[in-house]
Amino acid sequence: MRNQHQNGTNHQVRHYQALSPAQINRFGLVELGSSGPLYRFCVRLFGILALLGIVGFMMRVASSGFSDRAAWGYYVATVVFIFVTFQAAPTVAFAIRAAKGHWRRPVSRIAELFAVVGVLNLILLLPVLFLIPPITGGRKTFWFELHWLLPFSAPGFFLFFGMLALVVCGLCLLYLSALPDFAAARDAKGGIYTGLARGWVGSQRQWKMLKSGLNLLGAFYLMTFVLVTTLFAWDVSETLVPGWKDAIYPAFHSITGLQGAIASTILALGIARKFGGLKNHLHMEQFWGLSKPLLATSLLWFYMGWSTFLTYWYGRTLAEQHVLQLLMFGPYFTVFVMSFLLKFLIPLLFLIWNRVRMSIMGPVLIALSILTGDIFEMVRLYVGPFTITEVGHEMTHVPAAHLPDFADILIIAGAISGAIFIYLVSSKIIPRISLWDMKEGMLLTRVQSFHRAEVLVIGKPE
């Protein structure tokens, strides 16, 4: 065991904290079920806010019913916001695992835990299904004239089952990943963990299955996520706007999701480190590692948005002018500028500096900026389209901006709080750090001297 070399010239080694497997277990299991005052305060606060959200929802139903689509724009934007941020986070777990980054091990679980938010969002999605106009309504739609084949409202159908698949997959992923830890908890505590860890003995076959299972489920989660984003993009915003003919939009939306996923993860890491007592597990390295894809996704977000913009501007057909008007320069101009600043300009201006990337505060603040930007972004992409009533190929007039009312604010705050509430509660049942992953990492790492320097030697078993 080596201690930190605070003044070493070699950064990798500097933050390398070797713990013994027993230490890891002990630390990870002790917090399960127990809670501090801050935690309790947060749970109560977010719980109450979530309840207020339900009140807001009731108000919305009472004042607008389900037929006035425009009134529901903020509700839908909130659902998609939770989707592209919290619900997206488990994709990060898969991505870093697949990339075999050696710094990934303490990150995965914190990202995977977000899968539980999916349960809430699935419920929140239900009203949305009634708000999307059916394909028989004469609107331009991806589902063409398939209504003879699909006697139900096709968009809602696919969206719901896609979301269901995603949530189920996420929960399975979380469960599978936590299984060896449940076993450890079972051995240490028993209780519910006896049931949860049923059958896990840690045989080689089980490990092999666990690893490939995680890969498969992770890949499936990522693909389902992209698919559901695509469906959101198509059916819940794009086809509502006549003339919005943007092939890149689903991919752009998916990138928003991946950016949101990383941002959510970083924010969760930051909070966990600062207030959740994970100082010894989470180091600059983790934030540094995630800040690179965060920058990349920010760039990609701009790149794809620019592609659309440039193409529309050069094309300059009347339809394109109207769409640009609606989404960028017209009623939602401010919203667009905010999302542009928060999701691209600020991340770019700061993250290009290695100094910022190689810090903890930097990435966390940028992540916060991006998540805030995402709220604006979803308002731009969903509230606007929901105010449009005409169908056809071309928007003839651009509707005015639709502002949130009190109910909308309650809904936004409530839904987001609900998601945080669920996350907090779950983290008391499932270890926030993948104990087995950490232990494996310890086994594969050595510190050695090489010529005159001290270096890390990392085993690459595959």
Binding site: F309, W313, Y314, R316, G330, F340
Partner: protein, 750 residues
């Protein structure tokens, strides 16, 4: 946000892309001014141009033209805005005159045959030798003058004078040849209206036009004149006129009509009488006229033409007949015209006279919006106008005579006509010509007939010659058009009338005294003196020279006040009480399709084929160029398992040609149509060995009364061959229909 594409681009060019994102919405609407620093020809002064007025001779309509000439070269032909026939407008063929003038394959001087006839081996000779040669032949046959013939196109003005005088003075026969002779129309004009010339149509003021086969917007009559009037008929006045085209084929006119009524070929007259029956029985029309037309018998005379009885025969539903009859009788002024296919049947005169008679019923004879009759020529000297063409029967006799040599044709002079190309091959005219004694051609181009000549005395083109014209159809008042050379003759050619005068002079004696003028221009000027002396009309001047200049400048002389005398109404012949059924070449079972040949809008029936612009100009409806095609209905094509470009063998009892199919959605299933004009074996590089000649397979069916060729009365069968071509057409590779989501051709119902 109003941003023009250029604004954006300027921003792109001038500032950082990021600036665009934020400023774009406020960018002012301003054009990006970008003048090219490069000098373009249109910016340079290229010299002085002269404009000469003359007459278009590309078709018999005789439009007035103005030719732009720079440094002695004719550059562009434009319509003469002053000239009453076409009022500044011009058709495609008129435009193409410069390509006739500067055609690379013109005959550049007199030639004498040195090889066998038809071998194409000629030697160049001088005009002196050439004139002598012809004169000596004429002298040789002076005793048997009737074995000498001159064959020309229908002539007007002083050219007719010269040729007629030449022929009569010598005693030769003057044969006027026209493949699509208007014999039937002339006969009807004469019989039904007592007119020696075909009447003009007041399309501009008509309210309802019922046209039977007359493709007056394409090739029939005076297309530019009618086109101009049609524009006004559509949108130049407060009430838009209605045009109904009754025709088995979908012609250009049918394409522009408000309604196209595909009628069974040859039953046009029956349909017209049925319309008359409805009008008379319902008491809609002019009752006096109805009385006269029925010989006092009233509707009962037309009992055999009740719509329900003729509907099946004509292929037009009873309701439609009644609807048309009512509209025709009520939406006055209305006008009924017959032409092209309507008269080109064995019952052509029956059809045409029945149709024209409809005008009596609605009072459209010699009244605004109806038929307009023309006055006689201003001078008796010009009365020789409107030389009636030889009928097909006459030509059959000629062919027989040539073939049998009994009585012999010792000398045949041909000007500007091409009987070898323009007659059904069953006549054997080509073989006949090879047996003629001696053939002289005055053609400017080596066409199929000129190829048979022993002596060629090439004429100028019309842009190099003097001439005059009394247009027919006329303009309703006296008019004489003047044709002048706009450039010096390019080659060693001689105007046809001057060549005749020179020969007459050489022959001396009576010929000399009958044709005393030193030149053709002298003759024209001599009679211009008389016009001058009338001291009325469009050009009046204190002296003849000023008058002459005035006439040259304006392109002719006319007097808008000198109209046809109102006169007594001509004797109106009674309508027939029974139908004259059409007969066809080839019986229905063996030859199931009616063949409708049609005149090409660009090549006419062959004259335009040597002009590349006209070859490459699209047929308006099919957009085909450069070749012959057969129009086949999609259903028929399906039955025959053919697609566009499949070469079909089109076979009549009198021959077969191989023509690629054009799948035409607007041709009736039992009818096929083939354009005329191609299938030349000679006639220059652009015409020769191209397409097929539909004349060659026509059956020698004749109009039973006049003996004119019933060129629409042939039946054919179709066989698919193994060949296939890619069609030279302007339209694209798919069936051109408007997409459902875009208005390409805006259409409104009112």
């Amino acid at each position: 946000m109003e941003i023009t594409r250029r604004d954006f681009l300027k921003l792109m060019a001038g500032s950082a892309a990021g600036a665009v994102v934020f400023n774009g919405c406020n960018a002012p609407e301003r054009e990006m001014l970008m003048q090219s620093p490069l000098l373009m020809p249109e910016d340079m002064v290229t010299g002085l141009d002269n404009y000469y007025a003359s007459i278009c001779r590309q078709c018999p309509a005789g439009c007035g033209i103005i030719v732009r000439v720079i440094e002695g070269k004719a550059k562009k032909i434009e319509g003469n805005p002053d000239y009453p026939v076409n009022q500044g407008k011009l058709c495609a063929r008129g435009q193409a005159g410069t390509q006739v003038l500067y055609h690379p394959d013109r005959i550049r001087g007199p030639k004498r045959l040195v090889g066998a006839r038809g071998s194409g081996q000629y030697e160049d000779i001088t005009w002196e030798v050439a004139t002598k040669e012809l004169a000596s032949r004429l002298t040789q046959f002076q005793g048997q003058a009737s074995t000498v013939a001159i064959m020309t196109e229908p002539l007007t003005g002083h050219l007719a004078t010269v040729v007629k005088k030449f022929a009569s003075s010598y005693g030769a026969e003057h044969i006027v040849f026209d493949s699509l002779a208007d014999t039937v129309e002339r006969t009807v004009a004469n019989r039904s209206f007592g007119q020696s010339t075909v009447p003009d149509l007041d399309i501009q003021n008509a309210n309802y036009i019922l046209s039977f086969g007359a493709d007056f917007l394409g090739t029939w009559g005076s297309p530019v004149r009618y086109g101009k009037a049609y524009g006004e008929f559509r949108q130049g006045r407060t009430k838009r006129g209605t045009l109904v085209q009754v025709e088995p084929r979908f012609s250009t006119t049918a394409a522009s009509a408000d309604e196209w009524v595909p009628v069974s070929p040859g039953t046009e007259g029956i349909l017209a009488l049925s319309i008359a029956q409805v009008i008379i029985s319902q008491g809609l029309g002019n009752s006096a006229a109805a009385n006269t037309l029925t010989g006092g018998a009233g509707a009962s005379r037309l009992n055999s033409f009740r719509p329900e009885d003729v509907s099946k025969l004509t292929g037009v539903s009873t309701d439609k007949i009644i609807e048309i009859a009512k509209a025709f009788a009520t939406q006055k002024p209305s006008l009924a015209i017959a032409g092209s296919t309507a008269g080109a049947h064995s019952n052509g005169v029956f059809n045409t006279s029945a149709i024209y008679a409809l005008n009596y019923l609605v009072g459209s004879v010699s009244s605004p919006g109806g038929l307009v009759f023309n006055p006689k020529a201003p001078l008796p000297e010009l009365q020789v106008t409107a030389t009636a063409a030889a009928t097909f029967s006459d030509l059959e006799r000629l062919a027989k005579r040539l073939l049998e040599g009994q009585p012999p044709v010792n000398l045949l002079m041909v000007h500007n006509v091409n009987p070898v190309h323009g007659l059904p091959s069953s006549l054997g005219i080509k073989t006949g010509l090879s047996k003629a004694g001696y053939i002289v051609s005055f053609s400017s181009f080596m066409d199929e007939t000129t190829e048979m000549a022993d002596l060629i005395l090439p004429d100028h083109t019309y842009l190099e010659s003097w001439g005059d014209d009394i247009p027919e159809p006329g303009v309703g008042y006296e008019i004489v058009g003047l044709q002048q050379p706009v450039v010096n003759p390019l080659y060693n050619t001689k105007a046809f009338p001057d060549a005749l005068l020179a020969i007459a002079a050489q022959l001396g004696g009576k010929m000399r005294s009958d044709l005393p003028w030193g030149s053709y221009l002298d003759l024209i000027k001599q009679d211009a003196q008389k016009l001058f002396a009338l001291n009325r009309g469009s050009v009046r001047a204190p002296g003849f020279d000023a008058f002459w200049v005035g006439v040259l400048q304006r392109g002719g002389w006319w007097d808008t006040n000198a109209k046809a005398p109102a006169g007594a109404a001509p004797q109106v012949p009674a309508l027939p009480s029974s139908a004259v059924a059409p007969s066809f070449g080839g019986d229905q079972s063996a030859y199931p399709y009616n063949l409708i040949p049609f005149e090409s809008i660009s090549l006419s029936h062959g004259q335009g084929a040597n002009v590349p612009w006209l070859q490459s100009m699209a047929d308006p409806v099919t957009t085909m160029t450069w070749t012959t095609w057969v129009e086949v209905n999609p259903k028929t094509a399906e039955e025959l398992k053919i697609v566009e470009g499949d070469v079909l063998i089109v076979e009549s009892p009198n021959g077969a040609i191989r023509v690629p199919a054009y799948i035409h959605p607007a041709i009736p299933p039992k009818i096929v149509a083939i354009p005329m004009g191609q299938g030349h074996t000679a006639y220059g590089r652009y015409a020769a060995k191209r397409g097929q000649n539909v004349f060659s397979i026509l059956s020698p069916v004749k109009d039973s009364e006049t003996g004119a060729l019933a060129w629409a009365a042939t039946r054919v069968r179709l066989t698919k061959s193994d060949d296939k071509i890619k069609m030279p057409k302007i339209e694209g590779s798919v069936f051109a229909v408007e997409p459902p989501d875009v208005d390409i051709v805006g259409v409104t119902t009112g």
